[in-house]
Amino acid sequence: MQFGLSEEQILLRDNVNRFLDDNSSLDRVRRYADGSDDTDIWAGLTELGVPALLVPEDQGGIGLAPLDAAIVAECLGAHIAPTPFLGTAVMAPTALVASGGDHDALLADIAAGTHRVGVAFSEAIKRRNDARVEVRGERMYGKSLFAFDADADSYLVADQQKHLHLISASDPGLKRTHLTTVDKTRRTVELTYDNVEAQCISTDTKVFDATVDIGRVAIAADTLGAAQNMLDQAVEYAKQREQFNRPIGSFQAVKHMCAEMAAQLEPCRSMVWFAGHALAELPDEARITACHTKAHLAEVAQFVAKTATEVHGGMGFTDLVGLHYWFKRCGANRQWLGAPEFVRQEAAVLQGLVTD
């Protein structure tokens, strides 16, 4: 029995972290927030094999498991890295492989880092306002809000029946409007469809479910990384910053804030590991664990993001320190693919406590 990361997984984590330390610094993220692209970061991650992680070996990939993707997601969250990882490297390959269709060429392009896939699932996960996706005879009409990995070559779109479709970013009927959010480390877009060619990937809701499940676990892992980084920054700051002739970290008022963050966050690490493991190995537990992990990480991260900012005092509130990028990343992760209350409702439905 061994509940933890293997040597290979620790190596993967260390390699990705080392690359991101050098190439996704806060200064680099600020440039992305100001309008630059993420091409260099994605190119570097491609050299490390990141887009190929979940693509099967015989389709040009590395064929690793969801837990490995979660490990990378944690690194990306810690570095608030701007990348198309979630849609392109996690959800799209999962959907394409699970569909059972022939997507060899597309999977090979994804693995090679030359094709990016955005995700527009808001229609199928608690539709808001006037969003509506309709597909009639392989033509798509309507609108999706807040599609993520906005700068993509194609989009994976779920309609209200949870059927999955692939559309090309260059389709003349597609209109893309950038939607500004608080989270400047990743871009979201509104997609308007007017007679867009829709390639149906799957009408099996199990494929949709599997895609959402792994997306949720990856988001939870990203949140884990971001929250852990905020805690680390808060502890470091509290050790350095002096008031009343002593480090503020020697005051119980401050150190207890840090202890509370650590105590809540530490079990989250085991939870993300288990959730990643369950997706591949424990089908009976995978879905409910994914829901709980997404919801629980969102709650803990909300507490950590607020508290870590408070530990920094006034500096935490400034743009100078930049802590707000992590704060907002946690906030965006909380809302994407289902806010906590909705995801917990799904957990209740999955164990038969209530019908949807």
Partner: protein, 397 residues
């Protein structure tokens, strides 16, 4: 990642289940530490290696090599079967491991067998009115007079003192030494003249604790564990272990399942409580936390089995998070029952034999006892996160 224990352990689990199926009817009901049924059950469990498993045969134990997984399987299956896992109490859980680690051969021979057989019941004399979180400030004095220690002072929170045969007790034997180096660990008979036990009724309405007073209590000099002045190390040899086991996640999981049953059966205005979306969301939040703690425990277990694995803070946070979680969990059950949640003792509307209110209060006690939540946060921040210690106050002269 490998969550299987392997075929050897699968067959061990089957053995435990078979034993439970064949013998569960002999298990004592309730929590009577002194009854004959409890002692007979204890004897049967030791003979089969289901309790006192690693205590050497020469001292009355089963004499097996330590095996964390087998211990866990035993605990899981006894819990699933809701069968008593054998005698508990501070003698078995704290004194026996301490003696095995620090006691003399004579002490091991004299005390371990009768303790694990339930013939010798112990209480623990650690905390004092002036020494709670700051336990090392204890002041109960032991002065050597010829071949005897003469003990004067007071202990508090001494559970089972009113029925205990013996006490293991921390005393200040070297008043001039620094506070952690002036303590000794003594063992003595509770029938010794000069001991007075006064029950201390707690918020549950029961006298789970006592105040224990010592006036010129004379104890033979050799009834000391470790050397003079080493009592702090002797006591600390096993204190950390106690903290980790106060609120296990498996039990929390069992309670969540009981809470789900309760919500399916109880109604408000004729509607099942589980159908109330507010209550259901609160239930799901608790279930998330219990799940996280279960996986945290897997990590603790794995780090024990695989010495190279970094446990992070997973061990250090279990007492704080586990006890707070159980208090919240039991409190939710009370909330959802409305006025019925208040039922207590002989109330005919009592649910779950009153366990929800009892555990709600009991776990508040555990949040405070065994190192308060605030002490836990000091430990996590200072030892876990490496934050600076609070500056010490100099004593006003």
């Amino acid at each position: 990642m490998d969550l299987s224990f392997g075929p050897e352990y699968d067959s061990f689990r089957s053995e435990v289940i078979t034993f439970l199926t064949n013998n569960a009817d002999k298990a004592p009901k309730g929590n009577d530490l002194r009854g004959q049924a409890a002692k007979d059950w204890q004897k049967l469990l030791i003979e089969n290696g289901y309790t006192c498993r690693t205590i050497p045969k020469e001292f009355g134990g089963y004499g097996a090599e330590p095996d964390i997984i087998k211990s866990r399987i035993i605990a899981e299956e006894f819990s699933n079967a809701r069968v008593s896992p054998g005698l508990g109490g501070q003698g078995i859980s704290m004194l026996v491991p301490t003696l095995l680690e620090m006691g003399t051969q004579e002490q091991k021979e004299q005390f371990i067998r009768p303790t694990i057989m339930g013939e010798m019941l112990w209480c623990q004399g650690y905390s004092e009115p002036g020494a709670g979180s700051d336990l090392a400030a204890l002041s109960t004095a032991a002065v050597l007079d010829g071949d005897e220690w003469v003990i004067n002072g007071q202990k508090i929170w001494t559970s089972t003192a009113q029925i205990a045969d013996w006490i293991f007790c921390l005393v200040r034997s070297e008043p001039d030494a620094p506070k952690h180096k002036g303590i000794s660990f003594l063992l003595f008979d509770m029938k010794t003249p000069g001991i007075e036990v006064r029950p201390l009724v707690d918020m549950t309405g029961q006298a789970n604790f006592n105040e224990t007073f010592f006036t010129d209590v004379r104890v033979p000099k050799h009834q000391i564990v470790g050397e003079r002045g080493q009592g702090w190390q002797v006591a600390n040899a096993i204190l950390g272990h106690e903290r980790e086991t106060l609120a296990p996640a498996n039990t929390a999981q069992t309670r969540v399942n009981a809470l789900i049953d309760l919500m399916k059966n109880e109604t408000a205005d004729g509607a099942r409580l589980i159908d109330n979306p507010v209550y259901r969301d609160r239930l799901m939040k608790i279930q998330s936390k219990v799940m996280a703690m279960r996986f945290n425990e897997l990590r603790v277990l794995s780090a024990r089995l695989n010495p190279g694995q970094d446990p992070g803070l997973s061990r250090m946070i279990t007492k704080l998070e586990g006890t707070e979680l159980r208090h919240d969990l039991e409190g939710l059950a009370i909330d959802i029952m409305g006025e019925i949640g208040l039922a207590y003792e002989d109330n005919p509307y009592l649910r779950g034999s009153g366990s929800w209110q009892r555990d709600y209060m009991y776990f508040l006690g555990l949040i405070i006892g065994g190192g308060t939540s605030q002490i836990q946060k000091n430990i996590i921040s200072e030892r876990g996160l490496g934050m600076p210690r609070e500056p010490k106050f100099e004593k006003a002269s």
